[in-house]
Amino acid sequence: MAKAKKSREGTVMVLGGGIAGVQAALDLTDLGYYVYLVEKSPAIGGVMAQLDKTFPTNDCSL
């Protein structure tokens, strides 16, 4: 019988690559995990990437 494929341990999936997803992904790597960031559109950033400036600090949103 074929051996079962070894699973990748210590990984997390984040679904949606807006600011929330991106932040979660970055924090997870800092906590020691490998992340799959799954985004339905062609780029990450979500709505924030469309905003001009963002409150409350009104600096650029990227």
Partner: protein
Amino acid sequence: MVEAGRSPNIEILTNSDLLSIKGKPGSFKAKIVQRPRYIIAEDCTACGLCTTYCPRHQEDEYNENLNITRPIHIDYPQAVPATYYIDPRSCLSLTHDTCQICVPVCQSKAIDFSQKPEEKTLEVGAVIMSPGFGRISEETLAKYSYGKHADVVTSIEFERLLNPSGPFAGEVRCLSDNRHPHKIAFIQCVGSRDIGCGNGYCSSVCCMYAIKEAMVAKEHDPEAEITVYYMDIRTQGKDFDAAQKRALDKGIKFVRAKVADVMPWGDHLRLTYSTLDGNHSFKPYDMVVLSVGLESPPDAQKLADMGGFKLNKYDFCATDTFTPLATSKDGILVAGAFNGPMDIPESVTQSSGAAGIASGLIKKQRGKSLIHKTYPDEKKMGDEVRIGVFVCHCGINIGSVVDVPDVSTYAGDMEGVVYYTESMYSCSQDAQEVLKDKIKEHDLNRVVIAACSPRTHEPLFQETLKDAGLNRSLFEMVNIRDQCSWVHATEPDAATDKSKDLVRMAVAKARHIQPLPEQTVPVNKTGIVVGGGIAGMTAALNLADQGFNCSLIEKQDSLGGNYKKLVHTKKLIDQVKKHKLVSVYTNSGLQQTSGFVGNFSSIISSGKGTKAKEVTLDHGVIIIATGANEHRPETVLGNTIKYSKNIVTQSELAEQLEGKGKSRAPKSVVMIQCAGSRGDDLNYCSKTCCTTAVENALTIKKINPDSQVIMLYRDIRTYGYAEDLYQEAREKGVLFIPYEMDNKPSIAEKGSKLTVSFFDPILQDDITMNPQMVALSVGMVPEETDTLSKLLKVPVTADKFFMEAHVKLRPVELPVDGVYVCGLAHSPKPVNEIIAQAQAASAKAAMPLVKGYVTVDPIVSNVDKETCIGCKLCTSLCPYQAIRMVKDENNRPKAETIVASCKACGICASHCPTFAISMGGFTNQQINSQIEAFGRDIKEKETETA
């Protein structure tokens, strides 16, 4: 975002849809399908040639369909990944099997029409759902002539109009005839607080973004007349009220009214509205902006079915007050706007919290798949100085004011500069590649970037330097955005001159910069949490769940803080006491803390009376969760208050209502909102009192439907789902009457008789009544933040709440590394937000503990022992206790820096009588050459004019 794009531990799967999720915490299997981009990512250089050749037009979705792009394009230059893609819905080849003009055009041969959708199975230990929010239906917007008249736009469209990369390159123009709109109206609550369209909730962010957009529009055109039509201004966030005040000062008008409709009116728009007094009026506008709410994402139900978790009645993810980041399915967490409408700071907080919980769930797997980034060896520094200067346009943010090409060529003439260039967005991912290439190509050994703020972007550029084999200290950044294009927006010539000055000074300094070694210090893998309320207990438990020892320090003799009575609190206390990794110190306080991130040492006084003792704890991180107390102002809105059984605070009322018997509900009560908050006594909004008051009003109505409840308010701030309670209270007959600060209600008490008088804008008359009770929404004040602030050297705001490192990007970190904040000590907020924030703080605090070491910023001070005379001046001056005295081989006292404690403030260096101390990255030589470079130009100018 660029950071996410560069991380070796984040695999970004764009164009991907979820197909299924199966499994349990620790072992989920997620199937996804990745749709083709038709472009080979590794080969695309993002040159953009293909777009210019593509013959087919298509609406530009990134710009909200306000302008045209081509099927083959990239959304915006800084997009991550910086790869073009082909939209299969309009591409001629993919729809009609013709064209393919782009294929030979692409020099990198990156276009590949044979790509097929690819299915992948991801094996993961946990899942975080963050699919954000959806759009309000056009049907709802049609009421305001959206779709009928081009100048009725949504707020998202307006964001694009304001944006330099938008349809008119940052100019606000009417879409109907390209004129600049002079009169602009904002309509609030479009698609929110509207049961008609199914969205009863308040979207929480639109008041604040409308203020922001109005302010930015005013910056674009100071003559513009802007009016915001609103029901309540909900700027309940930390320091958000100040934003509205700034808007008022700028001349933006706020009108409390319901907008009946918007109709085309010749070239203009006619907006009809009704004010509280029942009057209908109308006004002409050039442009009307609809402040659209946040709706649940269109595929929410599908996601919920696949993930096996529940949605709430508004189709957002269902969560519980006490587990605000957990879906109903174990191992699947939620963060961001999918967890209910929220702004960026709140989303970022939730994300950190969710990451921390996920980390706790699968801590045994930690690190197993982690890829460690390596850098090329640092290249040897020759004697020759080879500086590269990069000047950034920042879209039009800098480029529209400062003459960037001029500044860049100016730099080219300077001594030591061997390469200079300008760039559109220096921070974009492809710009990092260009930077690396240029460093190699021109053998650069110093880099100067003139762009935005080093506070946000320096780490990114330094990382790129390291990737290119340069020490990260060989870098100078000039902020020509804040210091030139922003502050001198109306004087382009002066802004350009100043940019040149700054660049010249930076280059002068760069000639003298040297590589500085990066040092690492091991970390003590434990934490302490100060404050044993809900926030502190949650944070401590979370840190312990992630596998770290932690001490919880509480001032009182029992845990629980403000919420001792909640069932959830009792459960928490139990868990904290049982957890092996948590040690509880009650009747205790922090006396002294020294050290630095990873290596703090604190003295705790513990116990009372004869049992009192001092304990020393070594720890790596510290979380502040010291909370806040109910405010008890002695005057409210100018009335002297004597609290009694008739004049009570809302929390006292809540307590009374918990009792038994019908009489516990007052027969008549006047509730007064913002009693002490929002400029009455405290400057800020206490955020929770509106909801608490409405809850109490509902309880009263439930106990005795005949009770008369009147609420006098300025703005009812039942944001989010609490809006449902507000609606219910109105239905149940609670009367809500607004008051203005120039006509405040008065409260008088004679014997047991209470008299409240106020102006009723609905009846347009003064009203006097004699209620049985007056209930005051008194707000809250932070608890003793001053002492901790001094002890830990962390700043507080003017309102005495702890001040976070960056409101949006680092909402739970304090400016001192290794110190975090959560709960009411940060700002007023309700329980669910307190818990999410505590979870976020413990996730952030766990990071250095997980890493196991900290890297010391190399710009620390350095004592030249030869020159040091051992006077000890520096040790007494250093605010961080980062200098100690040691003996040299001849037994003479010499100063020495404790590098990991040094914050590089430079106080020691500036006071040393023998100039024995220099700061890495800020040596005397460097600073002097910078100053000389500044003077040089003045001298030149003087000789010119002479």
